[in-house]
Amino acid sequence: MDFELPSEHRMIRDTVREFCEEEISPIAQEIEDEHRFPEEVFDELADLDMLGVPISEEYGGLGGDQLMYALVTEELGRVSGGIGLSYAAHVSLASKPIELFGTDEQKERWLRPLAEGDYLGAWALTEPGSGSDASDMDTVAEKDGDEWVLNGTKQFITNANVAGSVLVKAVTDPGEGYDGISTFIVDPRNDDGFEVTSVWDKMGLNSSPTCELAFDDVRLPEDRLLGEEGEGWTQTMKTLDGGRISIAALSTGLAQGAYEAAKTYAADREQFGKPISKFDAIRDKLVDMHRKTERARLLTHKAATRYDNGQSVTQESALAKLDASEAARKVAEDAVQVLGGYGYTEDFAPQRFYRDAKLMEIGEGTSEIQHLVIGRQLGL
């Protein structure tokens, strides 16, 4: 078992880290304060070929593996959870399913612009009335001649107001349960009847837009059905297997960023005549933060490596996501504590990591749902 990253991966991680420190770090708090989606940053990410890391080169992606993608996502999380979340949703949820389930024509039309970074994408599963119990959705698509007619509401959809495509889950056969759900590619810029009805103000991650969407008789040609009719739910499960690895990576980045902020501060800050890192209580806290972060990273890399080997990852990605999201929240909370009063101010990063980390225990399946998934995998 080799715990060293390949040289190519290390070079990519180091380059992304340098970019993040120079270009994102200085504006990370500002874009949160302004609740501003930083379009210019995503233009730069596109120039650096970051928006299609695990997508094949044939369709404009980088052709990298899941591990490489996890490293990039972690680096973004280390400086900005908001940019990291919009990034991960774009890649794992909005792009990857088109690569996995789309026809060649769909990939050329809808995947290429996402992978090349012409615009971001979104993925719409959650509804006001169905979250954890996501298959119990009310959005419907009915066949009318050679068109589908889409009606319903989606809730908490990342990137939807800045997206060039939204993958929408809808019921196509109400009697069929899980097998009655299908996925549609919606063009928010050109399809009539699509509306972003609100953009949420949140506890954190405010540079990443979270939207409520309404579909009012949106008419879609047949070639907007992704994969087969009735495949929407199995697609969702496969999509989340990969997506959870990216949320784990993002969480690891948040934990790393919070840990580093606390470590640096603790070495400088003096009380009672010595650096506070010399007090057992603070040192132990920092060691513990490091331990949690490293554990989260190992679980994430394990899940990513299994994914790249073509092995099943349902359990591993749920475990990585469960552990890393909890690590991020706890490490960020401890980072606030290490900085004392300064940790509670917006002049220092830990409070931002703390706000951002909380979502990681909710999105792409809450921690309670991860327990459910893992329990089922363990045969419980």
Binding site: S7, M11, T15, F19, D47, L48, D49, L62, G64
Partner: protein
């Protein structure tokens, strides 16, 4: 046209470190591409990008295998291929002085036959600031030192390097240097790009050709230095701080006269 860029992996010292014998203890060192070389690489790649005809950009480094990852970063930014000079004799050399390096680089220049050589003004770690200019002298090229602007069109179309050099007192000098020439590149001449991720991936299969002394027609005598390092130590720092008393106005006045005494903002 061929551009040769000399690049070096330099050691960066952590904030807290110890000295072991004649060097900083390697435990406290991290390695990275020399800052000045980043700008030299960018200038070379800009030349290649602006050219209608084929311009090949080759980098040359003197360094151990460890430096390959650093060199590869330059390949990721657009350098076409790299030459890395190293062997046991170089490894064993006590101290690589400027003359030794020039002997090695001179041999590489003889093999590559470049039209223009770009080097950094100096290396961040050893700081001799002499390699580029000494190389020019050895290979009989014209040279321009501490270049902070380069007219790319002139190089490509007229075979002339029109360079700006910053002189003392903020004066700028414009010089025309006929090719072939060596230019030592100053930081700030351009804005070095980030390597794109695709560039990094493509760089994995670009060539880094290893060369030994004998490959270059040299032997161990090429790295016999006439310069010896005799000591390395941290100087005692004398703290010379003055605390100005009084209200803001009085403190400012005291500061102003202190600055004037030191010659800051004179006239």
């Amino acid at each position: 046209m061929k551009v040769l860029v000399t690049v070096k992996e330099v050691a960066e010292v952590e904030d807290d470190f110890e000295i072991a014998d004649l060097d900083v203890d390697p435990r406290y060192l991290e390695y990275d591409l020399n800052e000045w070389d980043e700008y030299a690489v960018e200038s070379a790649v800009q030349l290649a990008e602006a050219a209608d005809e084929e311009v090949e950009v080759v980098s040359v480094t003197i360094g151990p295998e460890r430096s390959e990852e650093t060199i590869r970063m330059a390949l990721a930014k657009g350098v076409d291929r790299a030459v890395r000079v190293w062997d046991d004799d170089i490894e064993a050399a006590e101290f690589l002085d400027v003359a030794s390096k020039v002997r090695l680089l001179e041999a590489v220049v003889a093999e590559e036959d470049p039209d223009i050589v770009l080097s950094g003004v100096q290396a961040h770690d050893t700081g001799f600031g002499a390699t580029g200019v000494a190389l020019a002298d050895a290979i009989g090229f014209e040279w321009g030192a501490v270049v902070n602007a380069l007219d790319i069109e002139g190089v490509l179309n007229d075979g002339v390097a029109r360079v700006h050099r910053e002189l003392e007192g903020g004066i700028e000098e414009l010089t025309e240097i006929d090719l072939p020439a060596v230019l030592t590149i100053q930081t700030g001449i351009n804005e070095p790009r980030y390597a794109s991720l695709r560039g990094i991936r493509q760089a994995q299969s670009k060539e880094i050709a290893p060369k030994t002394l004998s490959d270059l027609g040299l032997d161990f005598s090429a790295v016999e230095s006439e310069l010896f390092l005799t000591d390395m130590y941290e100087p005692e720092t004398e703290s010379d701080a003055t605390y100005f008393e009084g209200d803001a106005g009085e403190q400012a006045a005291a500061l102003a006269s202190a600055l004037r005494e030191k010659g800051v903002g004179a006239e």
